[in-house]
Amino acid sequence: MSTNIPANLKYTKEHEWVLVEGETISVGITDFAQSALGDIVFLEVPQIGVELKEGSTFGVVESIKSVSDLYTPVSGEVTGRNTDIESSPEKINQDAYGAWLIKVKIKNASDLNKLLTAQQYQEFCNTSH
């Protein structure tokens, strides 16, 4: 399995990556996740303005043969969705960390403390798979 895990990002145990930029985060799925899924063919994410709760599902990503839920890393309001990736979801396979899916305005800064560092995520991938 791939070990492409950039140090500047945060991670979840559900294989999302999080880029923190001030009061907003960008969310995508990790290289490990895209590799496990295979050819990604469909993406469903919420509308701008939707309130998301940390730990709840916010959308799905589908490969030819499978459906996987996407999990909210940090509570907050959706402030952006990547329409380019929605229309060409195969770009997630090509560059998982270049393909953000949604942006969320952080509601509780303390949620960030629950996220994994790159090193913690690496260890999680090593032990759980």
């Binding site: 295979g38 063919v41 469909f42 469903e44 490969s63 030819i64 043969k65 459906v67």
Partner: protein, 357 residues
């Protein structure tokens, strides 16, 4: 329960295949990419290890008569050398399995059955033998099986065998590979031209290795499922099961009511279907097995039995089993995907036209 492994298991591991449990076996589901594997078979050539499937041999004076009695399709009327697809039914018409009958020689018939149904089928078939002068042997453990599929199959396979005539689609031929006997059939369940090769484990393993060295693309069960769904072939456990009759799955064409006798004849005589199987395609959204199918009034009328993204059409494709009394006359079908209705178009022809002979 310990999962069974085919004799090619180590080859799959060497190729970094993703291995999953399937019908009691550890099987390769994908090697590199489902998409690339599907396209290899549609446009070039690929190979599946389908050694998990079952091989029964019926031999003796009454072999053809017995198999003709067992299944709904016409076996006696087909010439020696033909392969015939058929459901295997109970007296009440429900489907035990779907299988392919290969008429190898007079008094010698091979039946290839689904891996998940080997024990069920064998017990049933054995229990029907009385009164027929023939023997039944389950040789599933002695045979490995490869399905070489795609337009370049013939040019890859021909030079490797002692002899390979340009067989008709759905026909069978016995020859040799490196001195070992092999059974070659122009079948394969992908809709493309191709061959299935039955042989002993050592010879099939070597044949696999030669295929790999000749650039044949190894393909997994995920690609196989997409390929068969694109050309609208049913799969047991999805479109067919123990509760359905052949008419429920659109297989009325395989029930030959004019045969003097066969198991299920009386029950199937009225051709009564409880369900109708439809082909649906979606411009947006991917239908999956188990999703509910709705009519224009958002009422549940049936269920998706198989669904996927089509690699060739790049659209969602599915088989939908609709209750016969709820078939919508306006042909409006919706698929409930995560509590949202997605419009589906009814299609009459297969989603993809395979290139088989």
């Amino acid at each position: 329960m310990t999962l069974l492994k085919t004799h090619l298991y180590d080859e799959h591991v060497k190729l970094n295949a993703k291995i999953v449990p399937f019908a009691g076996w550890d099987m390769p589901v994908q090697y590199t990419s489902v998409k690339d594997e599907v396209l290899a078979i549609r446009n070039n050539v690929g190979v599946f290890d389908v050694s998990h499937m079952g091989e029964f041999f019926v031999e003796g004076k009454d072999a053809e008569q017995f198999v003709d009695y067992l299944v709904t399709n016409d076996i006696i009327g087909a010439p020696t050398g033909k392969a015939i697809y058929s459901p295997l039914c109970r007296d009440n018409g429900t489907v035990i399995d779907d299988l392919i009958v290969y008429k190898l020689a007079p008094g010698r018939v091979l039946i290839c059955v689904n891996a998940s149904n080997i024990d069920k089928d064998f017990l049933w078939i054995k229990s029907q033998l009385h009164g027929f002068d023939c023997t039944l042997k389950n040789k599933s453990d002695e045979y490995s099986l490869l399905a070489l599929q795609g337009p370049k199959s013939y040019q890859i396979l021909k030079p490797l065998l002692k002899e390979l005539p340009d067989l008709e689609y759905y026909s069978v031929f016995e020859t040799q590979f490196e001195g070992a006997p092999v059974i070659i059939a122009r079948t394969g369940y992908t809709g493309e031209d191709g061959f299935e090769v039955f042989g002993d484990h050592a010879c099939i393993k070597h044949l696999w290795q030669i295929f790999m060295n000749n650039g044949v693309v190894p393909c997994g069960l995920a690609a196989r499922d997409v390929l068969r769904l694109e050309v609208c072939y049913p799969l047991y456990g999805h479109e067919l099961n123990d509760e359905l009759n052949p008419y429920d799955a659109g297989l009325g064409w395989t029930v030959k009511g004019q045969k003097p006798r066969f198991i299920g004849k009386a029950a199937l005589a009225d051709k009564k279907a409880h369900y109708k199987l439809f082909k649906l395609t979606l411009d947006r959204g991917i239908p999956r097995e188990g999703y509910q199918v709705l009519n224009g009034k958002n009422e549940v009328i049936g269920i998706i039995t198989s669904g996927s993204m089509s690699v060739v059409t790049n659209k969602g494709i599915a088989f939908a089993r609709i209750q016969i009394d709820k078939v919508p006359v306006d042909e409006v079908f919706l698929v409930d995907i995560r509590q949202k209705p997605y419009a589906a178009q009814l299609v009459k022809k297969p989603f993809v036209t395979g290139g088989h002979k």
